[in-house]
């Protein structure tokens, strides 16, 4: 496997925090604190952009490319790593969707916040970007620093 971008473990982890922070706060905060006319405050737009660019960098980086590789390009350990990252991604995203589903029920009873159509689309975008980057993020945090000098 020859990825177009190879980052150190530390850089990949910093990027992963930027993705989770930027996307999480940018999209959720932007949806909650949207102006009455539907406009997203500029600060949240900035956070979204940081999250988006970090997600793209992680996607094209070695760990992200490993999650996109076919079986033939990986050995058995890498295949196991890739498969585990997808299982974890599936569990996290299902949990997030279930959490939102539960909130949508609860919000009716307590008159809680619910996104409008535009905010719902924004949240869906954030969800999609997170899904794209999450396998690479999981790999970056599962990876152990190693000495493979030989």
């Amino acid at each position: 496997m020859n990825p177009p971008l190879k980052l150190s473990l530390r850089t990949a982890r910093i990027l992963s925090l930027l993705v989770l922070g930027g996307i999480g706060i940018g999209y959720l905060g932007g949806a909650i604190f949207a102006a009455p006319d539907g406009d997203t405050p500029i600060g949240f737009v900035g956070l979204r952009l940081i999250g988006l660019f970090s997600a793209v960098a992680l996607f094209v980086e070695g760990r992200g490319q490993l999650t996109q590789s076919s079986d033939a390009m990986l050995d058995e350990r890498e295949r196991a790593l890739r498969d585990k990252s997808y299982v974890a991604t599936h569990q996290i995203m299902v949990l997030a969707m279930f959490g939102f589903f539960m909130w949508s029920i609860l919000a009716k009873f307590i008159d809680g916040w619910m996104p409008g159509q535009e905010q719902a689309l924004d949240l869906l975008s954030g969800f999609a970007i997170t899904s794209m980057a999450l396998p690479g993020i999981i790999l970056a945090w599962r990876e152990q620093p190693q000495d493979d000098a030989e």
Binding site: D75, E76, R77, E78, A80, Q146, E150
Partner: protein
């Protein structure tokens, strides 16, 4: 053989590789894996599949039980002491 990252499998891969004068890269090429995977195996951070275990044993011309064990291997000092 356990195909996982939380392996409790013990191995003497590093010892056999050093004795054979092979680098991780050379051994990896012979068994068809990434050199990093050899490092993970040697550190006990990954348990190989049966197929990979057999391939590794074949490279060194030993049985798979000589390379891998569920029990910790005796250290060289212990082995020498036992032969006295």
């Amino acid at each position: 053989m356990m195909n996982n990252e939380n392996s409790t499998l013990h191995n003497r891969l590093a010892l056999f590789r050093a004795e054979a004068g092979l680098s991780r890269k050379e051994l990896a090429e012979q068994v068809g894996v990434n050199p990093q995977t050899i490092g993970f195996l040697e550190r006990g951070q990954y348990g190989p599949s049966l197929e990979l275990g057999l391939k590794l044993a074949r490279v060194f011309g030993v049985s798979v039980e000589t390379l891998f064990s569920l029990e910790p291997f005796q250290s060289l000092a212990q082995q020498l002491a036992a032969t006295k």
